[in-house]
């Protein structure tokens, strides 16, 4: 892994006496794609804004490349931001929007022209130089916002839910584009989103946040496969989260049935949360099933069917490529590797 570029130590932010960041510690490395993921109000945008310089933390420190930058104003930082609703300058055309930062640096016109041209190329907007930004579609405005930030060659690009206003197809396209741009420019991207799929698709590391605190930091695979608590499991994709009791190492009981599992190190007879992903539940005949129940509903989702089965007092969500008939009696199986055991969250 590359060197630490941004180091946030014990950052506290309050708005009107309400704590929005509660002693946040986070290290971000050079050239990595980090995503802050969480529901609204979790502090992800606030964290981005203390890096951008728009908010000064009440307590704690923020270091950039080893230097403390708590009170450094935004215009002196080597970071640039792609704002949530683009925040393009309505009085300037596409070219002048992108050239804004370079004109402030008083670069010669020829260099400005070549760098703006390079950026237009990168975001596929060649030929749009003279357009007013109001004439552009949402996706095109988005590209201008990205070009306007990147043209300054920042060390870090901050992106605040940049794809939120785009339709699904365009969003998918832009996800790929952003990843490609990040790799081509070889700089750090810090991306804020509440869309777990977006986070998993693009990131090197995902930071899952809730109520101003970090829940889990890890690669998309870690976060998806090994969520540390029920909140993360629930937020990252759909999950069946069931109350269970750890009988002893490698044996857990839930829904009144004992299951083999691969987890250990919990106390004996300890109450735990058990997480099973919907795609990991197999529908079998009632005789073969570890659990059995009645199919309550079925929805066609394109790639798979989403089936709900009421079994042993719990409504199981199951993703399967095979349809089942509503009202039919079925069995359910889960293999030990697909059972995630986690500590109960303190409420």
């Amino acid at each position: 892994m590359n060197d630490v570029l941004i180091d946030i130590k014990n950052a506290v932010v309050e708005f009107d006496g309400e704590r929005v960041l509660n002693g946040l510690n986070l290290q971000i490395h050079d050239k990595e794609f980090v995503t802050f993921l969480g529901p609204s109000g979790c502090g992800k945008t606030t964290t981005l804004r203390i890096i951008g310089g728009f908010i000064e933390p009440l307590e704690g420190d923020i270091f950039f490349d080893g230097k403390r930058i708590n009170a450094l104003p935004p215009y002196k930082r080597a970071v640039n931001t792609v704002f949530q609703r683009y925040a393009l300058f309505p009085h300037l055309n596409v070219y002048e929007n992108i050239a804004f930062g370079l004109r402030l640096k008083k670069l010669p016109d020829r260099e400005i022209a070549s760098r703006v041209g390079e950026m237009l190329e990168m975001v596929n907007l060649r030929g749009f130089e003279k357009r007013g930004v109001g004439q552009l579609s949402g996706g095109q405005q988005q590209r201008v916002a990205i070009a306007r930030a990147l043209v300054n060659y920042p060390r870090v690009l901050l992106l605040d839910e940049p794809l939120g206003a785009l339709d699904l197809k365009l969003r998918k396209e832009m996800q790929g584009e952003l990843k490609r741009i990040q790799q081509a420019m070889e700089i750090t991207f810090i991306y804020v989103t509440h869309d777990q799929e977006e986070a998993l698709t693009m990131s090197d590391r995902v930071v899952v946040m809730k109520d101003g605190e970090i829940q889990q930091i890890g690669t998309p695979q870690d976060i998806y496969n090994e969520p540390v608590n029920a909140f993360v499991a629930d937020f990252i994709g759909e999950s069946n989260i069931i109350d269970g009791i750890m009988i002893h190492d490698f044996l857990v009981e839930f829904c009144g049935v004992r299951f083999e599992c691969v987890d250990k190190g919990f106390g004996e007879m300890q109450r735990v949360d058990v997480v099973v992903r919907p795609e990991d539940v197999k529908v079998v005949s009632p005789e073969e099933g570890q659990l059995s129940g009645v199919v309550e509903s079925i929805l066609f989702k394109g790639v798979h069917y989403e089936i709900t089965v009421g079994a042993h007092g719990f409504r199981w969500i199951i993703h399967s490529t095979l349809p089942q008939e509503v009202g039919s009696f079925v069995g359910l199986r889960v293999i030990p590797e697909d059972i995630q055991i986690m500590h109960k969250m303190e409420e």
Binding site: F54, P74, A87, L88, H91, L92, G101, G132, G134
Partner: protein, 272 residues
């Protein structure tokens, strides 16, 4: 759709009866003699008052500039406050307008008079008395005092529409507060500036009450000239109409210059 159009009918009638017909009458009066023959003598007679017209434009321009300098920072600061503070601020700005225009201007007379409040206070510390009333300065003061809200309100209404994230974007791209102002806030508030200037300059250039009450006899303005032709001893509605017509042309010219300025700003890329 077609039914909704009829809702505009009352206003249409109003406009024809009270705006278009009177304007046509002014046009007719301006180009006729008392016995009804066509003439351009009225228009050419307006030339005799060139100095009055120039002085009116000059005083109104100074008053407009002062309003802009006073009103712009206030409007900007106000637009960055909480919604509640903005409401209170706007109410305070409009408060004087709830009182009669005449009363307010009269109040300035008692303040500025030779034996007025200001001179008496200054007299107590051994200064003055100063010649405050019946000066061009007093006329400009009266204009600024009366028309300042008309500068602040359009400026404020444009400025509240400036998205704060656009300002943050400018900071993010390397602009300190001076550059944020000159590169973003000022160009984006141009429409407010031009409508504020229009709203102050037009009534100021044609005022007659302010110059009459605060300017004495020596600060005659276009409005006073027209007043004299219709209501004064010089009774001559034909000349009065001609002066009105010239005033109207001056105002239209000023406004089209302003709009031209506005358009060129928009051509830079604000083609929304």
């Amino acid at each position: 759709m077609s039914k909704a159009k009829y809702a505009a009918l009352p206003y249409l009638v109003w406009m024809v009866v009270f705006t278009i017909i009177p304007m046509l009458l002014i046009l007719v009066f301006a180009f006729t003699t008392p016995d009804g023959g066509f003439t351009i003598k009225n228009i050419s007679d307006v030339g005799k008052y060139t100095d009055v017209i120039m002085k009116s434009i000059w005083l109104a321009a100074i008053a407009t500039a002062v309003c802009l300098l006073l009103g712009y920072p206030l409007a900007y600061i106000l637009s960055r406050q909480s919604a509640r503070s903005q409401q209170i601020g706007l109410m305070l700005i409009m408060l004087p307008m709830w009182m009669s225009f005449l009363l307010r201007t009269f109040a300035w007379m008692t303040l500025l008079e030779k034996t007025g409040v200001i001179n008496r206070v200054l007299g107590m510390i051994g200064l003055g008395p100063f010649e405050l009333i019946n000066t061009s300065g007093a006329v400009v003061l009266g204009m600024v005092y009366n028309y300042l809200p008309f500068m602040i309100l359009p400026l404020h209404s444009i400025m509240v529409k400036i998205d704060h994230s656009v300002i943050e974007a400018a900071q993010d791209l390397g602009a300190g507060s001076m550059k944020v102002f000159s590169k973003v806030v000022l160009p984006l508030s141009m429409p407010g500036i031009s409508s504020g200037i229009t709203m102050v300059f037009v009534p100021a250039v044609s005022t007659f009450i302010i110059s009459k009450m605060l300017g004495g006899g020596s600060n005659l303005m276009i409005g006073d000239l027209i007043d004299m032709q219709f209501l004064g001893n010089a009774y001559n509605p034909h000349l009065g109409s001609a002066i009105s017509l010239v005033l109207m042309v001056i105002v239209l010219l000023c406004m089209s210059v302003m709009n031209q300025f506005d358009d060129s700003e928009e051509m830079e890329g604000m083609l929304i």
